[in-house]
Symmetry: C2
Subunit: 485 residues, 2 copies
């Protein structure tokens, strides 16, 4: 099937329901489908949206194109949860049904205001000449999940190009602020643009955030500001960033900066630090973070990259979301940990030992390892008999180096951007790994969340061996993880 522009932007009402039911069944039956991470019901999933706490529950949406593994006409699909782990799928919530979002209800955020959930997002509109206008839209969701009263709040000011999107709604004292990804017209550089409003109706541009002294490429997407341990963390996705400024491997990185504080009125970070990669694996992008009412900072990521094809495209679905992680700061570094409640998914705790950790798994597990200091080796996940196909975790605790290698991990993904990812840690100490596998998704927490490596992999689903390449001193615990999605 050829995905012409016309086809990708066909209204949902012009697709037939049998096709949709078939696509839903196809995505559900895939051996690569995740079962404890949010995944597509059909078609393509991208950015998490509207991550928030409302009416006593957590809410999360994702960008969805229901009719294939392509970036077509986007909408928001809604989930809610009491524990950030067990999610109820509430279905299509924000549709591209107004002039301002006629070509997609693009990414945005949400915040409980006066007993309703205020959604702030980018409406993608194109005119008959395919010229884009990005409208920033406000809408209100009531406790029954009904979204009403879409209003255009503002559009790109004269000095900003059509690349102006992904508003995060924030509140400081009595004032609302929004930050957006933006490209300036003069230099065509990427920025985070800061806006303010007293009433959510009248908005005023304050200016670009002083994220860095460097040029950060041609565009910044999905900016997020979250308060963590007395600091301010800015999470964002620079596009076209010079690798001399901050090194990265993926087509576009998801980065963060830690600052002492933020002065919204002067759109100024106080003492911003250097750029860091948020995730050191393969496929994390568009991370969205927010502070829950108790102040805790949580994040969730799209596991998928723009302008990238994945093997499940052939099955007409693609991508998923990461697990929700809790953020903290330790020694000036961002720590990303699983939420405590993910333990409720554990089944059949098993102490493991020996070279072969498991001859077989269901592909849905958590593996906690404490690898003793001063060893090198390779841990093979999703491995076949002779270890010729597997996802490899290579560790060298002498050098303090860990490599995630998917060169031999079945079907290829984005090989132009390399098949290995790498992180470093304190040498000559024990290495703690908390590895979550959900069929075609791996999330590796290194030393209690000092580093996280996330990635998709597409080994033959029958290969489910977990094995070290050589005798290794370690302590390990294996848990089957419950099916919840």
């Amino acid at each position: 099937m050829e995905w012409t522009r016309e086809k990708r932007y066909l209204p949902y009402s012009k697709w037939d329901a049998e096709t949709l039911l078939d696509l839903q069944a196809e995505a559900a039956n895939s051996a690569y489908q995740m079962h404890y991470h949010l995944h597509p019901i059909s078609g393509l999933v991208n950015d998490p949206n509207g991550f928030s706490y409302f009416n006593g529950e957590y809410h999360l949406f994702y960008q969805s194109y229901p009719f294939g593994a392509v970036h077509g006409l986007k909408s928001w699909v809604h989930f809610k949860s009491q524990d950030l782990v067990h999610w109820i799928n509430l279905g299509l919530a924000v549709k591209p049904d107004s002039m301002a979002d006629s070509h997609g209800a693009y990414s945005g955020s949400a915040r409980e205001i006066d007993g309703k959930l205020f959604l702030m997002y980018t409406g993608n509109h194109r005119d008959e000449n395919w010229v884009r206008t990005p409208y920033q839209i406000g809408a209100w969701m009531d406790k029954d999940g009904v979204v009403k009263d879409k209003t255009v709040l503002f559009k790109n000011p004269d000095h900003i190009t059509e690349h102006f999107r992904d508003p995060q709604i924030l509140k400081e004292n009595d004032t609302y602020y929004a930050i957006l990804g933006a490209q300036d017209k003069a230099e065509k550089h990427g920025h985070i643009d800061v806006w303010k409003s007293k009433d959510l109706k009248n908005w005023e541009e304050l200016g670009f955030l002083n994220l860095s002294d460097h040029d950060l490429g041609y565009m910044i997407e999905c900016p997020n500001i979250v308060r963590v341990g007395g600091k301010v963390v800015v999470i964002f996705c620079p596009q076209g960033l010079d690798k001399k400024i901050a090194d990265y491997d993926d087509i576009y990185p998801n980065m963060y900066v830690i600052a002492d504080d933020i002065d919204f009125e002067n759109h100024g970070l106080i003492n911003p630090g250097p750029l860091h990669n948020l995730d050191e694996g393969f496929d994390v992008y568009a991370t969205q973070a927010f502070n829950a009412p108790d102040g805790t900072a949580y994040e969730v990521s799209w596991v998928g990259l723009p302008d990238t094809t994945y093997p499940t495209d052939d099955e007409n679905w693609a991508n998923c979301l990461s697990q929700v992680k809790k953020l903290s700061i330790h020694d000036g570094k961002l720590i990303q940990e699983p939420v405590e409640t993910i333990k409720s998914l554990r089944r059949n705790e098993e102490k493991v030992s020996g070279k072969t950790i498991k001859e077989n798994t269901t592909g849905q597990y958590e593996l906690k390892l404490n690898i003793s200091a001063n060893q090198t080796g390779t841990l093979h996940l999703a491995a076949n008999d002779n270890l010729s196909e597997s996802l490899q975790i290579k560790f060298d605790t002498n050098d303090g180096k860990l490599t995630l290698d998917r060169a031999q991990a079945g079907k290829k993904v984005a090989v132009d951007y390399g098949t290995t990812r790498f992180t470093s840690f304190t040498p000559h100490e024990d290495l703690k790994l908390d590895i979550f596998v959900d069929h075609s998704l791996v999330e590796i927490f290194v030393n209690d969340g000092e580093h996280v490596l996330t990635g998709r992999f597409f080994t033959d689903p029958v290969n489910q061996r977990i094995k070290f390449d050589q005798d290794t001193n370690y302590q390990g615990t294996f848990y089957n993880m419950e099916t919840i999605l």
Copy 2:
């Protein structure tokens, strides 16, 4: 919206995808929706189908009409599970896409044969004059969930009317048998018709099962034979049964008979006992049972009744399935118990005491009670402040009598068939209740499964008090139940 015949039988391809997505969201957002029982993704659910063990997992399908709370063009939706509690929704599996099932892929069963799942079901075909032919169809599902090779196995023989449906495929030694609900042409009475085949292709009618000496009404639906504790249990739904033969309250009952054995070749039950109601609550029908490979007998029911409207019809969805129950026989009586693995859904165990058990719940819980002997009283579930709205469980352990009363339980359901249901137990002994509530569904296990009362109820979702009407001696444990669906 008027549900004309034309509309109900419109091919799925003539519905638009946006309507379906809206219906899915509407069903998901309902406050009456279940969250640990199988429920509609959209529209109407009825009979469980194809309950089986295949490829190392349990499989279960249900009858689905996706476009509204009406009995329209039916298909099978597929679920699988490793533990009979956590189910993965695999989506639309058997569609009405051949001549023989042009007007509905109706109910049937499944059995693993030679590494594939053999599905045997009734194709509902109507000609241009709306004259029905019921085709019994065989199809094969492979390990990827693809259903192929639909073949018409046989149609109604001359002596049976168009009411000939719901085949259960069975195997005894080297021979396959099928039992079907049937109406004879001469007397227009309901029967269970027995067929045999050596090769699943050539089928021969053996004759009607000797279920009872009585006339069992004008039709029998959904017959099931299952071996339980050395006996044979026949579960079936007689329609039009004279209440003098076996008393019941629902529009149509779901009944069972226990026999010492069955002689398939002579279509004869050995020493069949009397008819009993399978469930003593309000809404159980079309129960499907099968023997797992280890011999254990499991059953699952439609919670919903034919020719009955429910309050959620206004939200364009209706009905659900019961939890899976394990069958055994004790003192000649059928015992129905929750499966052991349902305990994995328990969260936050809490010992409860006092007149008010809980001021509030999420509407999703298990409540285990041991009510001391020689007491009478009323337990109110889903109650408001002054107990004027609630689902009532009235107990009298002096008389050994328990009544489930939904007269004050919010929106009315099938009131022409009464608002109370009743069971009896040994007087002057403690009463053990294991009560599962899932928003608008209650399942009450009395004295370890000696009796089960299942029902839907539609109290205002904000009313979540659990309270005795008076001081009561009891021991109780309350568990929140996990959201898995």
